[in-house]
Symmetry: C2
Subunit: 398 residues, 2 copies
């Protein structure tokens, strides 16, 4: 008799992207497919100094079991980091450290979602969010986006119609959309939270990666201006995109009752996040290296984003449409079919692999009604020359 797995596994499918990723091992492939930062940009010296400081100054704490809520010096540093980004009133006790922000999503699912509960997400949204929430039995509702992120008028209709358990958004340089939600829409989202008494989750792993002017304040920072909204807001942050994904250090800010329940769930998920990684992150932030690191990665990604945008416009012309990203890691594009060119992202992805360039077709990022003409291109891991060569290959594949 075969093993009987839990019913919840019936809610998720093997990812279509996974199949594509198997092809990435082909020699000479230029990849725009990844969702990760460039390893070459990691501040290895700074992290080494931080981990050695942690072991020198507090070996017991850095290597022992720790509080589920997180290592207190890191919670203090993260509260200060949030203050530096405009959320002045976050105390260390208002956040818990999570094992990457992926775990924050998992804890939200575990804490909030009963099978059949509705959750509104952007269409498109982060693939692992879709799968994570579905494992807990969520019925996902797709709120359409445009070049400015989620369309708040449609979002309001969907909230009114579906009365969701919560709304999950990546308002700043979203994955995969790269879109930046403007100030007015941000305020509207917070007003909707209050008007409909609906919890809103702001996932913000990319907000630090802006290329020009700083983006509008996070929903968290803005919530100080919208009475009643803070009590209905969850904010997930991460060091993965700016410092190192390998530390697996994220955090979640939430109303006290929710934070307490999530902490209880975390206790039985992994007891706590690696104290070694937490103490290293705390020492890194304490050493004051973050501003210089941020400036460096912003400059590099800005150059690459520009190179990709320029090359796409030059090489693919009106066969592709996209909004030039102002931050983050991704160009979200749509095949127009102009001139009888390919207009299906899946077909295009297969052809592109044959020409030696990879990207992720956009359809799997939709929880429903996929737009098959879309694609996600990461500019993070290839340098500008490689990006130009890769886009030239895309043009040949088209």
């Amino acid at each position: 008799m075969p093993l009987q797995f839990a019913d919840r596994l019936n809610n998720v499918e093997t990812s279509a992207i996974r199949e594509l990723f198997k092809l990435l091992g082909k020699p000479g492939i230029i990849s725009f497919a990844g969702g990760f930062p460039d390893s070459a940009m990691f501040d290895v010296d700074g992290i080494r100094a931080a981990s050695n400081a942690a072991l020198d100054e507090e070996p017991g704490a850095a290597l022992q079991y720790g509080a589920t809520e997180g290592y207190q010096p890191l919670r203090e540093q993260l509260a200060a980091f949030m203050a530096s980004k405009g959320a002045q009133d976050i105390a260390p006790e208002n956040l818990i450290v999570t094992t990457g922000s992926q775990q924050a999503l998992d804890l939200l699912g575990k804490t909030l979602i009963s099978p059949g509960d509705k959750v509104i997400v952007e269409g498109p949204t982060f693939l692992a969010t879709i799968q994570c929430f579905r494992l807990y039995g969520a019925e996902l509702i797709s709120a359409p986006i445009d070049g400015d992120g989620v369309q708040t008028d449609v979002l309001e209709q969907l909230i009114a119609e579906h009365q969701p358990k919560f709304v999950y958004l990546i308002p700043t340089f979203g994955n995969p959309s790269g879109a930046l939600l403007p100030l007015e829409r941000r305020k509207k989202v917070l007003e909707l939270a209050v008007k409909y008494n609906t919890l809103v989750v702001e996932d913000d792993p990319y907000g630090d990666l802006y290329f020009g002017e700083a983006p509008p304040p996070s929903l968290l920072a803005l919530s100080a201006q919208v009475p009643g909204s803070r009590e209905l807001l969850v904010h997930c942050g991460s060091l993965s995109k700016v410092l190192s994904p390998g530390l697996r250090v994220g955090w979640m800010i939430a109303p006290p009752e929710l934070l307490a329940k999530a902490t209880m769930c975390k206790q039985f998920s992994d007891a706590h996040t690696s104290t070694f990684a937490q103490a290293t992150a705390a020492q890194y932030l304490k050493a004051g290296r973050m501003p210089a690191t941020l400036a460096r990665v912003r400059a590099v990604y800005a150059e690459r984003a520009q190179a990709m945008g320029d090359a796409l416009r030059k090489e693919l012309g009106d066969a592709i449409a996209f909004v030039q990203p102002q931050g983050g890691l991704f160009v979200w594009a749509r095949l127009t079919g102009a001139g009888g060119k390919v207009a299906d992202g899946n077909v295009f992805a297969k052809r592109a692999i044959e020409k030696g360039v990879a990207f992720v077709p956009g359809a799997p990022f939709f929880c429903s009604q996929p737009d098959n003409a879309t694609l996600r291109l990461s500019f993070a891991t290839a340098d500008a020359d490689k990006i130009r060569e890769g886009v030239a290959r895309l043009a040949r594949a088209l």
Copy 2:
């Protein structure tokens, strides 16, 4: 309107132990309450050397996203570690790295337990296992233990009666029982797995901490001798008790189909375990420091276990009954009530705190039919003198 949490949260209660732990801050308390190793025994130099080697030799991999299954060099080292402990035929592909073995429990729950499924655990068993499985809706069945661990004849009756999704055991120096399951009972467990086609989970965080002769082979190692049992066996290991809990490095060995499903679930739980911690652990194992570290911690805990056993016999006499532990971190004891002394672990725990010594009453470790006369005493974190003083305080409290 208050937040509506998921139904699964109704299955767990705030821990009684938690309330007790709040009292531990009292100055001068000698604590036998912890479930953790002694920080003073961590090989800080070895871990510092290992993490620096990881950053020197493979900074990209140590700080980047990694495979959900685990960092390949660590999987190789862990397979070799298992071979050194008698499980010769474990390939790196047969195990995944987990964020502590707590996450292995969580992944088993997520992968296998549908609400209402039955799971057999020892009575008593690890508290976080009870809560973890209940969060997934498990109905727990308690299999009684004696001084030699789970009573396999009763276990067989329970398996036949309840047809559980799986059986969860800590056969070697269990928490809280400290018991060592003899060879014959180990074979019987594997035979029961095959006879009833029932999955068995062997949780083994303490097996390396033996004081005299090595314990009988793990269920995993023995499964090579019981045809068909390997396909029904899960083994969870951990570096937390012998190297450092703060790394949060555990592993799970399971049949391929189950391992694949658990990997998928892990992808949406925390993406992967900290590659920084994994690369550090891999370098540590590769450097060959583990045998000396194990020898050192075994010797220290053996002395402390002896000191506690001797003191308990001398100071509490026939008012307490226990089996002298041959490994692990715990003495599991039972108040006999002899001479009209206190026979309730909760009452005794409160009196003990007043006398300046803490331990955990045994009742919460039972998923049902608690034995209120039991208590768990950790000898891991106090030195022999402190242990003698603590036990003298216990005698005064009694």
